[in-house]
Subunit: 429 residues, 2 copies
């Protein structure tokens, strides 16, 4: 094996012909495969079926002294608050349990800060130019919220142990910077887990803006795929310890534990933040679906129960991650045209292709019937400045389809790389 760059132009042309022929063979199969979004497979969803069936008689729906089917408890069922509190390493009274979407809870948190302010500050809509720190590559739906709200996104690179904290500490000196999106464990898309040092520095930030908040989207907090998995230091105690309790808003959900569309989400924050949020939330809803909250707590019981249960997910997801990584290693290794992450959990594998070819790889895959996450989606405004990042989501397709999709993807990476190198050669002439 030789790096593509070391091939002569005629060797590159020969390679192009070879991979292109294999690509055409794939294309003629009329594939329709999807490795675009981090969606659990049907097999995974079936694992939680008893969440939906264990409660039957009307009396089963009584919990914490209330009929969970009725109104009330806008901050969540007490047993559900306790459940998420354990996950968040925060007291139960510092938790609000919501509906089926942590994205919705994050959105609403930003929306309330826009309209009503936080930390005793003016509403963000009255503060003129607003900025937000986005670690890149990152999660497109985080970025989209900023885009919709008209908040300018400033990027910080993801390093091996988390965001570049020197850059973050520098940026928060600007009073117009109001927040940062973090997916601290098995980060979307690169799978990085923040080191203890990074979590400590994040929890110790001294932003110029009193209404700056760390949006800690702990979406994959117990979503290990291999072995012991990574360990993430709990941020809330570290924030409290550094006199910074109000800095962090933590978000969690069971979207990738029970059901993506019918799970339970929660947020955890300081006394003061929770008090402010509760006082505002009561205008928006009389309460979230406590019955669904109770179904979940009843089935998973506690974090230990959850951890045991997540082994079943791992048994399904682990082999899928391995298939993709094996193919990458064997089809792309050594050519110097791609690098990829090897995460121990989460839902994604990050694939960096030859700069300037990510969009082309995406197009080629599309043309042959394989849907990838849109190239650029992992960057604010959908613009990857180097056009090199692709996010691979191995969870949804069955193993045989995943294998086919990955083989095709590897071919497309090669085609796009040779095309680019040949083009560069031409320009040099």
């Amino acid at each position: 094996m030789n790096s593509y760059q070391n091939l002569s132009m005629s060797e590159q042309k020969a390679e192009y012909g070879a991979v292109r022929a294999r690509f055409e063979a794939f294309k003629s199969r009329g594939l329709k495969l999807n490795i675009a979004r981090g969606v659990p497979s049907k097999e995974q969803l079936d694992l939680s079926q008893r969440v939906l069936t264990d409660l039957t008689a009307p009396e089963d729906y009584f919990a914490d002294g209330v009929d969970t089917r009725s109104y009330g408890l806008s901050d969540g069922l007490p047993c559900a608050k306790a459940f998420f509190a354990e996950l968040a390493s925060a007291p139960a009274e510092n938790v609000i349990v919501g509906g089926n979407s942590s994205l919705n809870m994050m959105y609403d948190a930003v929306m309330r800060t826009m309209l009503f302010g936080i930390g005793g500050c003016e509403p963000l809509v009255k503060q003129g130019r607003l900025k937000w720190i986005c670690v890149v590559p990152g999660y497109d739906r985080h970025f989209a919220i900023c885009e919709q709200m008209g908040i300018e996104m400033v990027t910080v690179p993801m390093l091996a142990d988390g965001p570049d904290m020197d850059a973050v500490e520098e940026l928060v000196r600007d009073p117009q910077v109001k927040g940062i999106w973090c997916t601290p464990k098995y980060s979307n898309p690169d799978g990085t887990t923040y080191s203890d040092a990074v979590v400590r520095r994040m929890a110790g930030l001294k932003p110029a803006a009193r209404d700056f908040r760390v949006y800690w989207d702990n979406a994959y907090c117990i979503h290990d795929v291999y072995g012991e998995g990574d360990r993430l230091a709990p941020i809330y105690p570290l924030a409290v310890e550094q006199g910074n309790p109000d800095l962090v808003l933590q978000f969690m959900s069971t979207s990738k534990i029970s059901f993506p569309g019918a799970g339970v989400a929660a947020l955890a924050a300081s006394d003061r933040n929770i008090q402010i949020i509760k006082n505002r939330l009561k205008y928006q809803t009389i309460g979230y679906d406590k019955l669904n909250q109770y179904r979940h707590v009843k089935f998973y019981k506690d974090v230990d129960g959850l951890k045991n249960y997540m082994r079943l997910h791992r048994n399904i997801l682990g082999p899928k991650f391995k298939i993709v990584l094996y193919e990458f290693e064997h089809k792309l290794g050594g050519y110097n045209i791609a690098r990829w992450s090897t995460p121990k959990g989460g839902y994604f594998i990050n694939l960096d292709v030859l700069p300037g070819t990510a969009k082309r790889v995406w197009e080629l895959c599309r043309d042959a019937g394989v849907t990838l996450t849109q190239a650029g989606a992992t960057y604010p405004y959908g613009v990857d400045p180097e056009d090199k990042n692709l996010r691979i989501a191995p969870s949804y397709p069955p193993v045989d389809e995943l294998l086919t999709a990955t083989k095709l993807l590897c071919l497309c990476v090669k085609i796009a790389a040779v095309e680019k190198l040949l083009e560069d050669d031409k320009e040099e002439e």
Copy 2:
């Protein structure tokens, strides 16, 4: 029986002594009763138990070609859209099915207009002073949204056939007036159903503000309690007919059909409004709980199924409404100290007591262990200018408790009335 006003002062004092003695007897019983909120009773909730238990195997959760447990379809499951479309007299593509709370959908609709505008207009936050029409008496949670958003509330009286439309038509000539709250059928709290003429005029409004919207909270659309019930003209066809499709946002929910805390809510609106809302909603959530949407459609099937089912509710609610009305008639009739509504459906009976005594009645009830909706709650900012309106919610308590609470309430109305009259006599001296 004689009107209290015609009694001599000594007769008033004698009456005061008599009712006060009976009040003290109630008080000594240490009651703890609640007729404050429109909450269905346990008996009613049990009627819908099969919503929660009919779907069991994983395959049961496939509907409209999708696994309802998974992500997607942010505007709702197609069969759920069709279900609510029938209720709203609008096409299914003009419906968005949401989570468990229509209040939340109304709040979000206002919030989006505040932040992003509607009808091609600037966001409301950028438009300076904002006003909203509130029909009084009305629903406290509607008013609270305006209060939180800093929107000034201007009131319009409820007449026998709906809001005073002359006043509404006059007010919408002001470009700062951006909306009106309506509960068009069995209005909260007075039980009024808007007449065909009122619905037609509402649908034909020509507001100065292009971003004015009618918030049509059809919370009690099929919630008859007696006989045939009232008929409400469908507003959407009338708006279309008058060239006004974008004027109305309709809201519905099953909160008082299945479960207050775990039902399904929906909104219906014009093509243009729906397109705007969908384009914004996708930033807030990947989708609502489609599984719960499907549970509901599967059980109720369609509007005919729903109507049949609502008879079961009527069997429970009808007698409760009768108890309250019978007591009012027999204990308060003829004294000229109270007037009340006799709604054919909904969740409330409106009680107008002697002006200047509503708060006192509320206090007396509280002191004897009966919780009423806070006096004033049916007016913006919690201020009833005449201090006369009370909202009675008969649905929640068992029949015997409801009877006791109503008897006590009638006594309190009398006590407060005589106190007031004696006070007035004193002032005249």
